[in-house]
Subunit: 223 residues, 2 copies
Amino acid sequence: LIQARNLSRVYRLGGGDVHALRGIDIDIDEGEYVAVMGASGSGKSTFMNLVGALDTPTSGELTIAGERLADRSPDQLAAFRNRVVGFVFQQFNLLPRTTALDNVALPLLYRGTPAARRQARARECLEMVGLGDRMDHHPSQLSGGQQQRVAIARALANEPRLLLADEPTGALDSRTSEDVMAIFDSLNASGITIMLVTHEEDVGAHARRRVIFRDGRILEDRS
Amino acid sequence: LIQARNLSRVYRLGGGDVHALRGIDIDIDEGEYVAVMGASGSGKSTFMNLVGALDTPTSGELTIAGERLADRSPDQLAAFRNRVVGFVFQQFNLLPRTTALDNVALPLLYRGTPAARRQARARECLEMVGLGDRMDHHPSQLSGGQQQRVAIARALANEPRLLLADEPTGALDSRTSEDVMAIFDSLNASGITIMLVTHEEDVGAHARRRVIFRDGRILEDRS
Ligand SMILES: Nc1ncnc2c1ncn2[C@@H]1O[C@H](COP(=O)(O)OP(=O)(O)OP(=O)(O)O)[C@@H](O)[C@H]1O
Ligand SMILES: Nc1ncnc2c1ncn2[C@@H]1O[C@H](COP(=O)(O)OP(=O)(O)OP(=O)(O)O)[C@@H](O)[C@H]1O
Ligand SMILES: [Mg+2]
Ligand SMILES: [Mg+2]
């Protein structure tokens, strides 16, 4: 499903270049369950953003679900993302003046799902993460862990083929964390490919493969 | 140092009231090292915001360093915070168009510290958290864990008497997390009072007292 060859990403800044990814080679098959780990600043989110077509590499190749992403326009990438990917952002990226329900419904709105179906699916996803009683709250009216769960619900709304989750339990207590991992486990059991960044061993243990990043490279890749 | 009596906070929303804190009674002495834990949505951040004078209670009393906060104007509360408190926010709250260095220097600017001293102190705090080579980056040019460390450095800049940290290691790998906790441990050993919210047992173990929140109340308080 995912194939990266010599994938690199350099951020060019006034003060000097940051080599965030240095020649990544990796293959991830459909249905895999991968944990991405490594020190702060080692390139995990940069890698996730490339795989999720939210960013473009400086060099190297990336093919996802048969699409060579380098050949696509921004609009085509957005449509591809909407169809294939569910993304839980490390910083949630919720729309601030929008209710939890409408935040979760956004991917469905983008794909043209009718209103009644959108609302029903968004409600279902919020209930799955235990926020059935917070649907009309705005993000600033939610706790940190509740905002994270809205971000998770939104990633699931469109029934993605590939779920990319960047530290999805970072703001959650252990009990809520287990509930979320149980959802991810059952999604993977039903065939969805999951790649999640985590720095928690307990969370990483749910995956069947662990990829460890260090200084923009893959240090270790174990199944 | 901190005394709360029957402290309550109700958020009034169109759809109904949220009783985030329900009659909290707690005393925290100078020099204590307290871990605040509990499920997502149980009131931890709400409590921290009240203690840090960032929010006002709906009812009950809160006295910090001898100041009855209810008697103070917003300007007086801001001056009090700047003098006494260092706050690491759950969502970091960094200024987006400002470098890491200037973000960290902000509390010193507010208190009138001269420019040369401000820069030197901010640089020192950033080096303490391992970001000496990221000083001129803006928040969007930093990884999640790097942003969190800038927030930590900023909380330490003014040498606060009371350090309030809301999930300070949430975005950090275990190694970086240990480095940060070592800083907190040494600050506490030098007399600074620390209250930190965490959902990680390993982090909570550094504290000498654990307070567990549930549904807006204190369920357990153990030393
Ligand atoms: N501004 C607000 N308006 C309305 N409700 C709010 C607001 N802020 C928080 N809440 C609600 O108050 C309750 C307590 O929130 P709080 O942020 O204190 O929880 P928390 O213990 O810090 O949770 P977490 O571990 O997820 O960060 C939550 O149920 C939340 O939905
Ligand atoms: N927009 C940007 N401009 C410049 N440098 C950047 C930018 N985004 C990230 N970086 C740098 O690239 C490196 C990798 O960042 P990345 O966000 O991928 O790390 P990460 O492994 O996700 O870290 P964390 O665990 O802290 O979230 C970091 O050193 C960071 O400072
Ligand atoms: Mg990251
Ligand atoms: Mg919180």
